[in-house]
Symmetry: C2
Subunit: 393 residues, 2 copies
């Protein structure tokens, strides 16, 4: 009835299969490897309660008033200090999903090309498609020369078509969905491709601080601060319910994001920003983060050992050094979308890997989250999923 009333963008909207799952089932009542939810155990309720009360004492009415579009100065400064960047390069976003969306809005016209890994983060693909971007995915290749050649092939093709590459979208640390990280060499290679062909990079970094083993690798932003827009999030290091993230970029880019944000929502939530700032500056955030890391490391190890013990022949998976996910590859011919109904009926949820592939490949893959469920449920969930797979394969 309203069809001819909608804008052209609407024709390219697609529903997040992950969010649709959340609409239908109560994740607490099943075995859910599906969401990217942190564990509620990691939310320090009493410390949050105390911090909220302190914010009310300290800021009074100011904590509930309108505020600056860039974010409250206290939070911008705390983020700038944590990330080692000047405060003029920090914009607080109302969720790092907003960071992705607003970058796309200010950079991409319909038909413009966005390069990304394949698979890649679903919420980013959803935003890119909604602006009618032409998304080109490149699969990872452990051989760096071959990996570079793949990118060069796609870039040459785009240039031959007379199209513009607006940016490369990457999650270099513990990627969603694969759980894998880019090596320093790979980061350098991608940054130098961006320099050579003059496109920007959007570096999405929500999981970076959740490292369970190995050494931190420099951000892509640090390799070329004027070419890379770095996106961060409080969702995985504090709590997603505050919907707060940040964008770090050259001031000329940030200025467009800032003006765009004025008309998007005026400013990020004020009280929540003061709470995050106090939590960060008091050291409570880092103390709590250390506990989360220990918990998630245990859960990751448990998931890996359970898969090892129960999964049938022919199933393989990634070994993430951090983050919230690992990625399962099933035998060729397996259809994780078709299998999903059977699995959900039996009480196990995951996200089919196909949804993360811009070109609809990856039918025999699935993403498994290990942060959300209790260790007991991870154990039982893997047993159940393995049994279902054994019956099917």
């Amino acid at each position: 009835m309203y069809e001819e009333k909608f804008s052209e963008d609407v024709g390219s909207f697609f529903r997040s299969p992950v969010r649709e799952i959340f609409k239908k089932v109560d994740l607490g009542s099943i075995y859910s490897f599906a969401g990217g939810y942190p564990s509620a155990e990691t939310f320090p309720l009493e410390e949050i309660r105390r911090t909220m009360s302190e914010v009310i004492d300290k800021y009074a009415g100011k904590a509930f008033q309108y505020g600056a579009t860039q974010g409250v100065p206290e939070l911008r400064e705390a983020v700038a200090e944590r990330c080692g960047v000047p405060v003029e390069r920090v914009q607080i976003t109302s969720s790092s999903q907003q960071g992705i969306d607003v970058c796309t809005r200010v950079l991409v016209d319909p038909g413009d090309v966005i390069l990304t890994s394949s698979p890649s983060y679903l919420g980013a693909l959803q935003s890119f498609r909604s602006y009618r971007a032409d998304i080109r995915g490149v699969a990872h290749n452990a051989d760096i020369a071959a990996f570079k050649a793949e990118y060069e092939k796609v870039i040459a093709q785009v240039e031959a078509e007379g199209k513009k590459i607006k940016f490369l979208y990457m999650i270099p640390d513990f990627q969603n969905p694969s759980g894998e990280s880019l090596t320093l060499e790979e980061r350098e290679m991608l940054v130098s491709l961006a320099q050579e062909h003059d496109f920007l990079i959007v570096e999405d970094s929500p999981y970076r601080e959740l490292r369970y083993e190995g050494d931190h690798i420099p951000t892509m932003y640090s390799l070329d601060p004027d070419r890379v827009i770095h996106l961060g999030s409080f969702s995985k290091i504090f709590a997603p319910g505050f919907r707060l993230g940040w964008a770090i970029a050259h001031p000329d880019i940030l200025d467009k994001i800032y003006v765009c944000k004025q008309s998007l929502d005026l400013c990020p939530p004020i009280f929540d920003q003061y709470v995050a700032a106090e939590f960060l500056r008091s050291g409570r955030l880092d103390a709590n983060l250390q506990k989360s890391i220990a918990l998630y490391r245990r859960k990751r190890d448990l998931l890996l050992s359970q898969l090892e013990e129960h999964m049938p022949e022919g199933v393989s998976w990634t070994h993430p050094e951090g983050g919230l996910f690992l990625f399962l590859t099933l035998p060729e011919g397996f259809d994780a979308v078709r299998f999903y109904d059977k699995s959900l009926d039996a009480g196990v949820a995951y996200v089919a890997g196909e949804f993360f592939h811009p070109d609809g490949t990856g039918k025999n893959t699935m993403r498994m989250n290990f942060s959300f469920m209790s260790e007991q449920k991870i154990r039982e969930g893997v047993e159940l999923l393995s049994r279902l797979l054994r019956e099917t394969l």
Copy 2:
């Protein structure tokens, strides 16, 4: 350096002069009639503190987790009940500014026409322009036949140009910036024009509940619930720092807004939503709102009497029955943008009326807010502004 990298939309972005003022001056240190800020006195700090603690007790980790894109059920239901609509018609927005922006995103392609009053809300004009809409403003006319004829003339012109009117944007109650309301007859006339020419209406209603005299007038939504998208806000009845609003519309329209919101920011802030829901359902919101209304009524009366006493000949102003603003008209030839520097130097801020006019007229007008300052400062501010005007006129 980045110019050729930006999307075409960016060329139509414009900075909010209001937000730019906020960047430069501390509103607390001057006489500010500029912002649309509620008075911080109206934020019930102790009740908020208590409610926050109750939310933590009641919802624990759930209050800090991700949540449904439509909003948490408790808040959707509370809003549905308050507005007398089915819950399927309620989407919680991350600020009612987001409501405006997302409506434009899902309805408007570049060059599509949006009809609006002239003057109109600056944040809406900013959003409309950012999507390269063709904005046509119609001045109010107290003679309804003439008012209708004005709209018909503009509609005929748009139709002759072969363009599409996507929606009419209206703030029927205590409009920003004029402070004036549409009569029931005017609302009916506009709805029937929308029916006849088959366009939608976006009814922006942030001030509706701040009525200081006279009777409530039915919403435009109530006159045609399948054609009108109604936007509400917690900013003026609770506190703007939570950045929460709502959109009420036919489920087929709301579905597009919902899918769009998935990629915009996944979901509104969760903890803040529970706080708003508890505040609403406990009756605390209404009790506090009654106090705000009494306070603002006093401030409005004070501003009106001060203007009467101090303003020079040839200056007139609106007499709003509610809301946060009144609108001043100065003698023909006066330039409120040019006068602004002088005024700010002397310590008085306002917003020049020109910014609210889609066609750049209204140079001799200014918007004055009466909610933000103390009664003492309103008194002194009017005296100062009147003296400056007397020196200039």
